[in-house]
Symmetry: C2
Subunit: 185 residues, 2 copies
Amino acid sequence: MSLRHAILTALLERPSSGLDLARRFDRSIGYFWPATHQSIYRELARLETEQWVESVPQPRSRGRRKLYRVLPAGRSALIAWLAQDEEPERNRDALLVRLRAASVVGPGPLLQQMRAHRDAHARQHAEYLEIAERDFADVGEDPGARLRMLILEAGIGLENHWMTWLSEAIDVLATLDSSDQVSDR
Amino acid sequence: MSLRHAILTALLERPSSGLDLARRFDRSIGYFWPATHQSIYRELARLETEQWVESVPQPRSRGRRKLYRVLPAGRSALIAWLAQDEEPERNRDALLVRLRAASVVGPGPLLQQMRAHRDAHARQHAEYLEIAERDFADVGEDPGARLRMLILEAGIGLENHWMTWLSEAIDVLATLDSSDQVSDR
DNA sequence: ATTTACATGTAAGGGGTTACATGATTTG
DNA sequence: CAAATCATGTAACCCCTTACATGTAAAT
């Protein structure tokens, strides 16, 4: 149930159209709460019926652009949501399922895939570092910026963890593979 | 689409009833692919109609216990799935959404929650370490065991990342809070 | 005018969660 | 035999994904 709160947050930072939101998600909040334009539009519609946001049609603009803005009730709801405490959710990780399967039926072409994952995480890591340099080089005293920087650091650490672990895992798998100790049955 | 493959893997490791599977999930595969007994039963039913598994009713046992076993088609399907490469999926993380919201409307009682999260991750970390000592103290040469150990190490590293990051984040938040630089509007 | 790009939406389906329902065997 | 426990299953709902559809303005 976090999409609506992510949207409220983004709209508080800057009133936007649905598509703008989708684009902004792709390079910030979407890193830890991915959302397509479809799900964003759906949620915006709900938020509007609940009077948590309002929309103003923008004539003389492309398409049927509408600008969304958070209403006081939406702001209150966001603050109320922050006050609820929730358990840490367990994340699903298909790669670990695959590795577990490999421990039973043999690794097969998994080594390749883990290299691809390692590279993907390395790319994401690099992207985060770029953002850090570009947006947070001199974070200063602004508390909002320091919190956003914290979030980015969570992402950096996470990618770093996966890069490190995947490198080690790849080494182990390569050894097992070459020594042919894992057969297919 | 990984639940079925997680189930196939678990059943290959040991033929089980649905409830047994659910219990085993809670202390192994479920760490990275949580599943309730309901979802497991549903998936088992599907797997059976596809002839990927078979079930043998167990009379003289409690309830209407059925023992599930993987059929050759299921084994092949699992191996085929291992051969497909998939992109790393983006994990959703509500806590980071909350932190982002906090950067806009103020942290409120978030500090408390982050302490709770830190403790929860510390507990999970400790649990993983126990498992490592109990089950992998002398992992030896068995390739299957080494792969399962790798998976555990991924979990340990992950929990470690969150413990570390949360500790730092808590420090930063505490500073911001006490210096009252984040107001509620 | 037609095409391209922008912008909002609809529809179908999948997978998971939660709450509830039912059947069968032990236990007291 | 009643209650507790084990075991399987149903139903409703929610959110997300994917593919498709429609409307409006700019570009050529």
